[in-house]
Amino acid sequence: MLKVQIQNLHKHFGSNEVLRGMDLDVEEGEVICLIGPSGSGKSTFLRCINSLEQPTDGMVVVDGKVITDKHADLDRIRENIGMVFQQFNLFPHLTVLRNITMAPMQCKKLKRADAEQRAHELLATVGLSEKWDCYPSSLSGGQQQRVAIARALAMDPALMLFDEPTSALDPEVVGDVLAVMRKLAKAGMTMIIVTHEMGFAREVADRVVFIDDGVIVEQGLPSQVFGAPQHERTRAFLEKVL
């Protein structure tokens, strides 16, 4: 079943054409890694999928809902799309537990006890059970990012978006976050991941998509894209990063 359908996606910032017609279909349970040079439009593409950026043109369908529809109920659709940011963006004035229970209680009207029970389960999944009562400022970057993943999962999303989730982390904690993501992928979560961790992409991705200058240049199995890139631009990029 198709989880995500993106057709002819365009995004301009003023006269700056950042996305220039992108198409992507994602199957249920598929893990997609987006790679590409800085400024190529990876973040913008991801942010168009949950409408944090309003696409200039094109269609985005997530889990059967047309998010680019003028009358779309964006809040309801976004509940179904988890997003993890490079800078974590935890709520600093709330404890770890409240960070996780806030949206389910606010949007899904979950009872506090139910929301908290689910939060504790998710904290166990990301390996941070004992941190439930801490404030984000007392956690390391890797721990904060794992809480952010738990927070997104608390809404039971059908799709998870990750925008360079490990780029702001110290090297020694990158592994903890990647381990959580690997676990999610194994559990069958549909994921679109922007990453510079080529080793991780090669290992976890079902499909690697190379973006340059606002278009999808090349996509395929990790072994194809990394092993035998078809396009000159892909080769040039991979030579620089590998």
């Binding site: 944090l52 976004r78 509940e79 799309i81 600093p92 949206a103 400022s137 007392s138 997104a152 809404m155």
Partner: protein
């Protein structure tokens, strides 16, 4: 008459004056908080008309003296619309409108200081614009602005002395009245000053306590701000 006899004799009047000053300050500041928050939300609203109304209000208040605003409300507005208004009501209206405009700008500064990522995280979880504002942005913004809000409270408490011009017997007015009777202006203005000083000193101490409480409420080693 010695200083202490003077003090003893005028103390009841001063206490009455202080009571009025406190009444004027507290009521005006409470109303001003609501006006400030309301006009701030209007100001940052995407609805152009609301933004425009808030901008007009803020600019008019900031561009004119409180004395003129007070006269305008007590004499001008009442006359033009045939209203009757006590000096106390007029004083409260003038002070709340005045402080409200400054608080509005303070609140806006606080809200704008919260990183965009906070709103984006909240919205990406499915929270509405309003829920993100109330649950995520405002609680953080209010913490940041406490020192500036306290500062505005202090300014407004001192501004109550201007309200004496419309005949309200608050502290400053009481002072002038006693001087008119006793000609002891040196001592009396010192006493008046001490009263204001004590009120403001107590407020400052209280606010420090509140700030401490709030910072404790999110871990002693808070890095956030």
């Amino acid at each position: 008459m010695s200083f202490f006899e003077l003090l003893q004799e005028s103390l009841p009047l001063f206490l009455q004056g202080m009571l009025l000053t406190l009444q004027l300050s507290v009521i005006s500041l409470i109303i001003a908080m609501f006006i400030g928050l309301g006009s701030c939300l209007m100001n940052i609203s995407k609805i152009k008309v609301l933004h425009w109304i808030a901008m007009c209000y803020i600019n008019i208040i900031r561009g004119t003296p409180l004395l003129v605003q007070t006269f305008f409300i007590y004499f001008g507005v009442t006359k033009a619309f045939g209203l009757s208004m006590t000096a106390l009501t007029a004083g409260i209206v003038a002070l709340s409108l005045n402080a409200g405009a400054y608080l509005s700008e303070i609140f806006r500064g606080g809200i704008e200081a919260i990183p965009r990522g906070q709103t984006e995280a909240a919205r990406s979880l499915g929270m509405s614009h309003g829920a993100a504002l109330i649950k995520i942005i405002l609680p953080q913004a209010l913490r940041i602005v406490i020192p500036s809000v306290v500062n505005q409270c202090i300014i407004t408490i001192k501004d109550t002395s201007i309200i004496s011009v419309i005949g309200l017997a608050e502290l400053t007015m009481v002072g002038s009245q006693i001087i008119a009777r006793t000609f002891r202006s040196f001592e009396i203005w010192i006493i008046v000053g001490v009263f204001y000083f004590v009120i403001i000193y107590v407020l400052s101490k209280l606010s420090k306590l509140v700030e401490k409480r709030l910072s404790l409420a999110q871990g002693a080693d808070t890095k956030f701000a």
